[in-house]
């Protein structure tokens, strides 16, 4: 019976919290963008003329097919992260795409139309060097994979291994390239640095070594890039130090030395310090490569050369030229070369490969984005037109990972911002008010200058409002006549304005490549982008909103702190988050490495919050640092504290600001690094509001929350990873005094630990290594039945330690990230947003993570609406806020409050970006979507008229009765 009651209670509580998206709500307030990352290999499907497929493999271990007409994804396969899923090579022949994955671990063949796996072969161990398609008698039948010490041949249609052979002297010789000209032989090229080149010749049928020879090449440092095989088996190498080209026929036995051709004889010279690059093309793997090749002599100098009768002749010199690429369509091979036109544009031209002659009317103008980077890769898709001339389209990849697909005469067909596949940090900024609203705001903002001008000003602004209203009415009227589909207005940067409930915001996203984006949160449109050049990879970014949109006419202001990982030096980039423009504010020079930043609630005369930057000598730099700010800082210095956590030394230290902007150490906590290591520290979010100061108990007394805004949650992991001895430590430390408020150790537990620290609770997830499962644990802190001081909170005066309650639950899925919802006033109940590796985002009510959940239900616990304790945490599919819009490789979830108390904006980023709204307590302040306005208003009007009529009837009747 009791069990029945428990189950009933649980199901009732689930009913209460159950909320899912209805079918007609799909895509109404949510959107998803899918990305692939930086393209490493791109191949156009030239199998048929009408094909629209573009196959790409990227550095994010993604193998995908793009629609070359629209840029949308046909299909996408996301492999494991890290070196295990790294795509080493991509080859395509006909309908098959062959991919080598994980440093030569797997060989896979994909069907390109639907993206299905045809076969997969596990390769022998050994680091991957090269892969090539091997053709025999005009048919491509095999794929050869070269490893450090072995070569293997696989059948292209089934993946079965034909043979595998060990390479001779593989411990001294570095084998790097495979070549086959379709004549039944496979050449493996290797070299011994600064000594000689080794050429091994294999028979395709059985892998027998036909020939092995070594050729003197003392200048050789690398085969890749600087060597290529051209024109029926001629090895061609270029060397920068000797300024020479070297050729060697692979098959002839008599040549024991490479023929040297000085570049001077061709009137060429390699730019100093530049490693020259040779680019050849082999249109069909069953045929020998073409005799023409590109030689890149400097970053912007290419030359098209031809090898003919053992002589190298220049066909065309492209100086200056940024990029050059070959493309083949049918029998014709063309070369596309990108040359600079002026400062903002490049022109791409098509040249016939065998003569170097320019094709007429083939110019594509590529306009470079002034806020973007330089182009660095060119992919050409050539096709035969009806009149048998060659047409082409190009895809340009730039430094900022923008893919631009162009067609003649320079029309941008589509664009993809692949930098967004790697979002590092983001913020949401309120949009500005509309012009009219701003006008009104401005009126109050300006200083009063006499009665009459103020009246006039008021009248004029009222007139403007009236005008705007008339214009709005006119627009409504005008739009009403048009069909519905054509009314859809595009969001542009000029029409941006805050909506009624502040649901539409600007998402400012910082990506690892150093490109900043401003994205409209309603539609996902990229409204502005800004590429910051000279950003080293692995830099650390910190984005701070210094001034919001609330201070009209001052523009909002964001500051991005970029810290170079190697030098440790930081730089500040200040910009307007709405328009993406760089602000012309003098930025303090940061001569010393920055350790941390601290945003103070102190504002300067322009309403910008003051940012403190702490350098490695614990000196503080203020930004902005006007006189006013320094004065204010002196006044508040004694109450400004900051903490630094040094994970490598296991040290937490607290500092206090002095009047002269130096600091003094006031506390230090050392967590010995030989036992455990600090993995994460989190305080509470600055914009978090807690509406209720306590919890109402079943007997209607209050349990007051311990709401310490200075509390830090420090998570440590043991250095010993043995499953019996490993543990996870949780420390709750007051950031002002350094007092350890609570300390807990989770034994037989392992990381990675994900946690959320908010209000008076801390939720963390760890791996229980004893039971091999994920567990949630929740800590809640309470002050007790009495508040110590209800008016002010000071960490320096807290004599009583809080009561700590804890409970743990089993979570039946792994977790990739954890975040909590956030609302404007904190009245709405909280949910936890759990990012699962499957790509789903689970909205888990915090109600389920409540350490007061009783094991035995009592009258009081029922009164409190506590769900009886159950060790297993449920996962309900209707709690997935992103239904089938899964987000690959969730890295972070960002939550922001909206103007509606019930609504929280959620952005999930990883490989994809997903934006939605969640309603943790349902939409209590909004009428439902299916609210029947017609019925309600017709009933209202009906009642109104019925009242009128019956009133009249009653009057008549009364009068008549009076006359009777």
């Amino acid at each position: 019976m009791a069990w029945l009651v428990v189950r009933l209670a649980i199901s009732l509580s689930l009913l209460y919290t159950a909320s899912a998206v209805f079918e007609d709500q799909v895509g109404k307030f949510d959107w998803r963008e899918q990305f692939i990352g930086k393209v490493r290999f791109a191949l156009f499907d030239t199998h048929s003329q009408a094909s629209k497929k573009l196959l790409v493999a990227t550095d994010k271990n993604v193998f995908a097919s793009l629609n070359s007409r629209t840029g949308d994804l046909f299909w996408r396969h996301v492999d494991k992260t890290g070196p295990e899923g790294h795509i080493d090579a991509l080859l395509m022949y006909g309908q098959d795409a062959v991919v080598v994955v994980g440093n030569g671990r797997l060989l896979r063949s994909w069907e390109t139309t639907v993206g299905g796996l045809k076969w997969e072969a596990v390769l022998d161990t050994g680091s991957f060097q090269a892969a090539a398609l091997i053709g025999v008698q005009d048919f491509v039948k095999y794929v050869a994979v070269l490893k450090k010490s072995a070569i293997s041949l696989h059948d292209l249609s089934s993946g079965s291994q034909i043979w595998v052979e060990n390479l001779p002297d593989s411990d001294t010789v570095q084998y790097q390239t495979i070549y086959s000209g379709g004549n039944g032989l496979v050449f493996v090229l290797g070299f011994v640095p600064s000594s000689h080149i080794v050429i091994v010749e294999y028979k395709i049928e059985d892998g027998e070594i036909m020939k092995k020879k070594s050729v003197e090449a003392a200048w050789m440092s690398s085969l890749e890039n600087s060597c290529a095989v051209i024109s029926s088996g001629n090895l061609l190498c270029v060397d920068q130090t000797t300024q020479s080209l070297y050729t060697l026929p692979l098959q002839s036995a008599e040549h024991t030395e490479m023929r040297q051709i000085h570049l001077q004889t061709l009137d060429l010279e390699v730019a100093s310090g530049f490693q020259p690059v040779l680019t050849s093309t082999q249109p069909n793997p069953a045929q020998p490569p073409l005799a023409e090749f590109f030689l890149q002599l400097s970053p912007d100098h290419h030359i098209l050369l031809q090898l003919k009768d053992d002589l190298i002749a220049p066909l065309r010199d492209f100086n200056p030229s940024y990029l050059a690429a070959f493309a083949t369509s049918g029998e014709k091979t063309v070369a596309a070369v990108m040359t600079p036109k002026n400062d903002t544009a490049c022109s791409i031209n098509l040249f016939s490969a065998d003569t170097g002659r320019r094709h007429l009317d083939t110019t594509i103008i590529y306009h470079m984005d002034p806020n973007g980077g330089k182009p660095n890769r060119l992919y050409v898709h050539a096709f035969l037109k009806k009149d048998d001339s060659v047409g082409y389209r190009v895809m340009v990849q730039t430094e900022d990972l923008t893919l631009t697909f162009l067609q003649q005469p320079g029309r941008v067909v589509w664009m993809r911002e692949e930098a967004l596949a790697d979002v590092v940090t983001m913020e949401m900024v309120d949009l500005p008010l509309t012009g009219t609203q701003a006008e009104l705001e401005g009126e109050f903002g300006k200083k009063a200058d006499g009665l009459l001008p103020m009246v006039l000003k008021r009248l004029s602004s009222q007139f403007i409002l009236l005008q705007a209203w008339m214009a709005h009415l006119w627009k409504l009227f005008y739009d009403a006549r048009k069909p519905r589909s054509s009314v859809k207005n595009e969001v542009t940067i000029d029409t941006l304005s805050r909506d009624e409930f502040n649901l539409q915001k600007m998402m400012v996203m910082v990506t690892a490549s150093g490109k900043l984006f401003g994205i409209d949160s309603k539609s996902g449109t990229v409204l502005w982008k800004q590429y910051l050049e000279d950003i080293k990879p692995d830099s650390i970014f910190k984005l701070i909103v210094q001034r919001t949109t609330a201070h009209f006419p001052h523009p909002p202001q964001c500051t991005l702190l970029i810290k170079d990982k190697d030098t440790g030096l930081g730089s500040l980039y200040v910009f307007n988050p709405i328009f993406g423009k760089k602000s012309h504010i003098s930025v303090p020079a940061l001569p010393r490495p920055v350790l941390q930043t601290l945003l103070l609630p102190v504002i300067d005369q322009d309403y910008a919050k003051v940012l403190l930057l702490i350098d490695d000598q614990y000196k503080v730099t203020a930004f902005p640092s006007t006189k006013n700010v320094l004065q204010q800082l002196q006044d508040t210095a004694s109450s400004v504290f900051f903490y630094l956590v040094d994970s490598s030394q296991g040290k937490l230290s607290g500092f206090r600001l002095r009047m002269d902007l130096s600091t003094e150490l006031i506390w230090e906590v050392v967590i010995p690094t030989e036992v455990q290591k600090i993995v994460a520290v989190k305080g509470k979010r600055a914009n978090e509001h807690v509406h209720s100061q306590g919890r109402v108990m079943g007997d209607r007394s209050v349990l007051y929350k311990y709401l310490n805004p200075n509390l830090l949650a420090v998570i440590t992991e043991s250095t010993d990873i043995h499953q019996e001895r490993s543990f996870v430590g949780i420390f709750l430390i007051d950031g002002v005094t350094g007092r350890i408020v609570h300390e807990a150790v989770q034994r037989k537990a392992r990381g990675p630990v994900h946690f959320v620290h908010s209000e008076n609770w801390l939720v963390y997830v760890y791996w229980n290594s004893k039971f091999r499962r994920n567990e949630f644990s929740v800590l809640e802190l309470f002050e007790g039945a009495e508040l110590y001081n209800s008016t002010v909170f000071s960490s320096l005066d807290r004599p009583h330690p809080p009561q700590v309650l804890q409970q743990s639950y089993i979570f039946p899925a792994p977790i990739s990230t954890l975040e909590a919802t956030l609302t404007e006033k904190g009245i709405t109940s909280r949910h936890l947003l759990v990012g699962l590796p499957s790509g789903s985002i689970l909205s888990l009510p915090k109600m389920f993570l409540d350490p007061r959940r009783p094991e035995l239900i009592s009258e009081q616990s029922r009164e409190e609406n506590l769900i009886p304790y159950a060790p297993e945490m449920p996962i309900r599919t209707e709690w997935f806020i992103n239904y089938n819009q899964t987000v690959s490789r969730v890295r972070g979830i960002y939550t922001a409050p909206s103007g509606l108390e019930s609504t929280c904006l959620v952005v999930v980023y990883g490989l994809d970006i997903y934006q939605t709204r969640v309603f943790p307590s349902k939409q209590f302040d909004v009428l439902k979507d299916d609210y029947d306005y017609v019925l309600i208003s017709s009933v209202l009007f009906g009642l109104f008229f019925a009242t009128m009529i019956s009133k009249r009837l009653a009057e008549v009747k009364l009068l008549n009765r009076a006359w009777r």
């Binding site: 910190k542 305080g683 807690v690 008016t791």
Partner: protein, 189 residues
Amino acid sequence: MTSPGGQGGGALSTRGGATSKRMKWAVELSLGNCRSRGDRQSKDGDVMYPVGFSDKPVPDTSVQEADRNLVEKRCWDVALGPLKQIPMNLFIMYMSGNTISIFPIMMVCMMAWRPIQALMSMSATFKLLESSSQQWLQGLVYLVGNLLGSALAIYKCQSMGLLPTHSSDWLAFIEPPQRLEIMGGGMVM
């Protein structure tokens, strides 16, 4: 009892029946009509009375000694009314239970509102009791009865949990404490 007016009306109605059946009576003030009426009345041999005239003597309504006791009794009835209701209220209270739903709430409201209404119209009640000799005592009893009634209602509210007597009822009004220190920082970047 037949009044002359009634008679007259009857006479008129018979006459009126000729013109309009719906009229119960009518006074005709015009001279011509009067004459004709007079003619008819004289023909009937009746005397014309003014409207509202009664030829029966009106009974003597002056207070007599026997009524004084009655008044006293009546006044006590009024004064004890609220007290008499209390057992009934207790029973209703018991029956309605402590759950918060529309009917108990309505009952509690009624129980609370009635004594308050009675207390508000205290002066009217006093006017009623004016004639009694024990006016002040009766007033006091009436007051006590009503106070008891409202106390009962308050008790009921209390047992239903409608009174803000717990600290949890004032929780929403507690402002978040102001923080005195500014703190920030994090892992060394």
